[in-house]
Symmetry: D2
Subunit: 133 residues, 4 copies
C-alpha cells in the first residue's frame, strides 16, 4: 500500500462548499507518483510509460477544506501489459471516495503496449490489496 | 442530447504532450451546465441539487491541444431520486473518451435525497440516449 | 484585440461562492490561444515558443458561476524578443479582472530567446492596445 | 516565514514538459493556508475573510516534475485593512518563481473591508520579510 497525505487547497473546493468532485481524480493521480517512478525512474516524459485506460470513482462522503486527507493506493491486479489499482481517500477516519483505475504499460515511440517487466512486477506485488471487507 | 464545444487549453495538457486524464472529468462536468441549470435555475450554490455519486470514464484515444473537442451528454436513466448520464468526448471525428456519471437530487439543507420533480423529468426525457451501436 | 467567450465551470468556483482567483490566469492563458498559434502554427509543443516571464493581475470584482465571461487580449508592447499583453475579463458589462503578461520568444532547443519574426510582428500590431480611458 | 513542501503532480505539468505557469498561483495559494486559518480559524467559507486584490508573479526558472518544491511565504506589508505577502518557489536550491500578492480583510456579509485585528497583526509580524538582497 502506498500512502500520501494531502492538504486540501482553496482552489480545490467549489461553490457548494466542499472539495469539488473533479479534484478527486487529481488527488488519486498525485498519489500514484511512486508508481510512475517505478515505470519511469528519471520522471522524464519522453520515457513515460503509464497510460490510463479506465477510471471509476465512488463518491461516498463530502470532503472539506481545512483538514488533511490521506490517499491510499493498492495494487488490485497485474496483467501482462496492464495494471489495476484500488484507491481510497480518507478524511477524519471516514472513507470519502474510493475507486479503481486501469493503466497500460505503453511505449510512446512504438505506440504499442508492452509486458510489465519482472522487476517492476515484483515491486508491485508488495502492494497487493488484501481481503476487502 | 446536449452538446458543448470546448477549445483545449495549454494548462489542460501534460508533459506527455496530450490532454491530461484529469481534464476529462472537468470537461464532462463543464458540459453538464444545462443540467445543473435545470435543477438550480438561478445557478446559486445555496440551492444546489446535483450531487455526484459515481463516475466511470473510458479513455479511448489521446486528445491533443490545438483542435476543438465536442462533449455530448445523454440521459441514460432517470431513477426516483437519481440521474445517470452517458457522455462522450470527440475530437476530429474520433470518440476519445466516454463515460457514465450518476447524480442524486440532494437537498443540502435536510441532507436528504428527494424525488426528481416531474417537470425536470419531462425535460430530461427529451435527451434520452437512443440505441447505442 | 482578441476576444474569447468562456462559460464558467463549477470546478472553477471555490467555497466562497465565486470564481476562484487561480482560475483567472487559466482563463487569460486560454484566450491567448490565437497568439500561441501565431508563434507555433501547428500547435506542437516541440516547436513551442512563448515562455512566460511575468504576470500581473488586478482583481476588481467578484465573478460568478452561471453567466458567461468575455476575455479580451490586446498587444501592449512588442520588444525585440519579448511581447507584453494587456488583458481584461468582463462579466455583465463589468470589468472584473485586468492584467498584463510578458512573454519571450524562446527557442527550447538552444534555450535562448530570439527576435520576434517580422511577419508575426505585423500581425501583432493589428491588435495594439489603443488609448486606455 | 511560512514554508510548505509540495510534490508536483503530473496534472500540473504541460505539453512543454515543465510545470505550467498557471500552477504557480495555485501553489502560492496552497501555501497561504496558515494565513487563511489565522483569519478564519474554523476554515468555514461563511466566515471567510481574505479576498485577493492583486497578484504579481515573476517566472525565473522552469520547474520540473519529479522533484519536490518549497514554497516560502513572508509578510511584506500590513496595512489597516490590507495585507501584502512576498512569496518564493524553490526547486533544487534555485529560486524558480517569486511574487507578491495583496489581500484585503473583507466582511462578506457587509461587503466592506475591515481593519486587521491586533492579535492577527501580532502573529503576522512574526513572519515579516527581512532585508531582501
Amino acid at each position: 500500500m502506498y500512502r500520501m497525505i494531502i492538504e486540501p487547497r482553496v482552489s480545490e473546493t467549489d461553490g457548494v462548499g466542499h472539495i469539488n468532485n473533479t479534484t478527486i481524480p487529481i488527488w488519486f493521480e498525485a498519489a500514484r507518483n511512486p508508481l510512475f517512478k517505478l515505470f519511469t525512474p528519471d520522471s522524464s516524459f519522453e520515457k513515460w510509460r503509464m497510460i490510463i485506460i479506465n477510471m471509476n470513482v465512488d463518491y461516498l462522503q463530502q470532503i472539506y477544506f481545512g483538514r488533511d486527507v490521506e490517499v491510499f493506493t493498492w495494487v488490485k491486479k497485474i496483467g501482462n501489459t496492464s495494471l489495476q489499482l484500488y484507491e481510497e481517500i480518507h478524511q477524519d477516519t471516514r472513507v470519502c471516495a474510493k475507486g479503481t483505475v486501469t493503466y497500460v504499460n505503453f511505449n510512446l515511440q512504438t505506440q504499442k503496449s508492452e509486458p510489465i517487466p519482472d522487476e517492476i512486477r515484483r515491486e508491485l506485488e508488495l502492494h497487493y490489496l488484501q481481503i476487502e471487507s
